[in-house]
Amino acid sequence: MSGDEFVPLSLVPMLIGICVAVACALPGNFLVLRRQALIGDAISHVVLPGIVVAFLITGEVSTWPMLLGAAGAAVVAVVCIEAVRRLGKIEPGAAMGVIFTAMFAGGVLLLEQSDTSSVHLDVEHALYGNLESLIWLDATGWSSLWDVQALAGLPVELPRMVFTLIFVCAFIAVFWRPLKISTFDEGFAQTIGLHTAPLGLALVIVAAIAAVAAFDAVGSIIVIAMFICPPAAARMMTNRLEHQLAWSAGFAALSAILGYVIAGYGPLWIGMADAVSAAGMIATISGLILAVAAVFGPHRTRGSAAAVG
């Protein structure tokens, strides 16, 4: 694979894919352990109305209004779910189901009602994303990595996802001890004076930030898959949280790389003309990794901690 072709066409999407995957997988570990795994699913459904409303207000597809709209919708959804749960005394799963389906339906209706056909804003795009189109046209080969002029032409999604990844890592590093304690033993965390409720909320907000940043670049399906599959696979590999995070980051990066390569080049190898959806393939690969871990992982069953020591 020569640099002339690889650097402009595949390097940037692949790097973005890796950043997205790791940025979602790291907070995903805590969500899976806290039985909040489906928050990623809910967030990725509710950001659609936010993005559509932002588009209708500003009239253009630009980044910041959309990110703000998505974040606003996520906040509205969290508030609504909590309100339904408390006011109606409804169990959390059902409350979530009511709100996120209704908001998604509202988003689709708005999208169909408004004339968005002129711009690239449609439901399929929101679901699959367009990872493949984030190409770096200014690059000519590996040497472009040192070329300031070419670097200026990098797709803005790449630096944004890198910042998001750094932010997520920083959050986890700074709040490592309280996060770990409150995830495993909320009661104990409270007795030693940790404020578990704001911490839990902060975790959800960080997850939402990662989801919204990723959503813009790669669509919602990767986001849901990366929140759950790599952490779930990592959980089968180890009993130590530190190791689980490392495993999940590794699995996430592996899914992104393998998924992108197979989606982009796999069909050509077996004689088909066109590439397939990279986002879908990355999700598929993460599922295969989870399947392998669930069948062969050393800590795949409950209570395996005692057996291994």
Binding site: V32, G97, V98, L109, I221, I222, F227, P267, T284
Partner: protein, 401 residues
């Protein structure tokens, strides 16, 4: 136009779709109730997303055998197989591994859906033109539906509803009290399996109308809505079925009348509208009635405290208390008690003294447990008992005349 649609005057296809949607909505409401009561509402999310690869594979297989690829029965069979596979995966992951059920649901829905999208992109490049309408399975589309398709949907929705009606007794028992169901000799595992079968059937039939992303709303929203209106099992089931039927009927009719209105989202939003109304207005559990109850309680507390203050000749500064006393005609604007007010105040103070007496007397222990400062003493003691208490207290005290 919308009236025409609601009265089924828009032609054969639209009528079949509307009736089919209505039957499907009823089956989804009833089937969803059992899921909701079993606290497994979100399993349906995994099932519905898991239908996509099945639709894709069925299309590819039918094209490979020289078929047209758009045969609805073929596509739906594929959807059913892959959804069943997804359900098995959720069960396997949540019982055989350490993953919790929510993580298993999320993993299955994202992976199956992702794979389905991969298949869709292959199909898009495979045979341009012939795959038209396949995206309709994502969000549902009834526009341009073939006459035979509409008939298939109406008939299979009716069959699903019948299945639900036949199985409602064991399902109800198993959802509410699995232990009791087991002791009466019912095979709960098999009932759970039947429940999942119904959810699967509803999902697959609903694909073409509501779409796989939103079908889950039809299974979740009506039962949650119905729960606001009743505390009785069988009523939840009936109301959920009715609500599901109404949402789907109205939604499908609106969408048939207005071409720009996509069917699935409209149905879901009608259902959500009914939910929002119920959340606000339901008699027992609604927000408005809770507010009213709160205000009434507040009013009783303020009136009672106000009367006690009047009886003891204390000035009242609290505005709400003063206003309530005035509106009852028990006090004048400057806070001075009226004749009626003085009599009420004397009674309130006397009742308070009676309460204090019986709370000190072990003989009245059961009655004294009702003391909360608001319950009228006449409701817990008989007239004879009150006379007895009054004799113990002696003459009324503390009433300034």
């Amino acid at each position: 136009m919308i009236t025409d649609a609601l009265l089924l005057q828009l032609g054969y296809n639209a009528t079949l779709v509307t009736i089919g949607a209505c039957l499907l909505g009823m089956a989804a409401g009833v089937g969803g109730t059992f899921l909701f009561l079993r606290k497994r509402a979100l399993v349906s999310d995994a099932i519905s997303h898991a239908t996509l690869p099945g639709v894709g594979i069925a299309f590819m297989v039918m094209v490979a055998f020289g078929g047209e690829g758009r045969n609805l029965i073929g596509l739906l069979s594929g959807a059913a197989v892959s959804a069943a596979l997804g359900l098995l995966c959720v069960n396997w992951l949540s019982t055989r591994t350490r993953l919790a059920e929510d993580a298993a649901i999320g993993a299955v829905l994202s992976v199956f859906f992702g794979f389905g999208i991969v298949l869709l992109t292959i199909i898009q490049t495979m045979s341009a033109g012939r795959q038209a309408g396949l995206e309709g399975f994502l969000l549902g589309s009834t526009a341009g539906m073939l006459r035979s398709d509409a008939l298939i949907i109406a008939v299979s929705a009716a069959l699903t509803l019948m299945l639900v009606l036949v199985l409602r007794r064991p399902l109800t028992l198993a959802s509410f009290d699995p232990d009791f169901a087991t002791t009466t000799g019912q095979n709960v595992t098999r009932t759970d399996l039947a429940m999942m079968g119904i959810v699967l059937a509803v999902t697959v039939v609903g694909l073409k109308i509501v779409g796989l992303i939103l079908i889950v709303a039809l299974l979740i929203i009506p039962p949650v809505t119905a729960r606001f209106w009743t505390d009785r099992t069988d009523h939840v089931v009936l109301i959920a079925g009715a609500l599901g039927g109404v949402s789907a009927y109205v939604g499908a009719a609106i969408s048939a009348a207005q071409p720009a209105m996509p069917t699935g989202p409209i149905i879901v939003l009608v259902g959500f509208g009914l939910f929002a109304l119920s959340l606000l207005l339901a008699p027992e559990r609604g927000v408005v009635s809770a507010l009213i109850r709160h205000r009434q309680f507040q009013r009783r507390v303020h009136l009672r405290q106000g009367l006690l203050a009047l009886a003891q000749g204390q000035p009242i500064y609290e505005r709400l208390t003063l206003r309530l006393l005035r509106s009852e005609g028990w006090a004048l604007p400057d806070g001075v008690a009226t004749d009626d007010g003085r009599a009420r105040a004397a009674k309130a103070l006397r009742d308070e003294t009676r309460w204090q007496t019986i709370r000190r007397d072990p003989a009245y222990e059961a009655a004294a447990a009702h003391y909360d400062g608001l319950t009228p003493i006449e409701t817990v003691l008989t007239t004879d008992q009150i006379e007895q208490v009054d004799r113990d207290i002696g003459a009324p005290r503390g009433v300034t005349s």
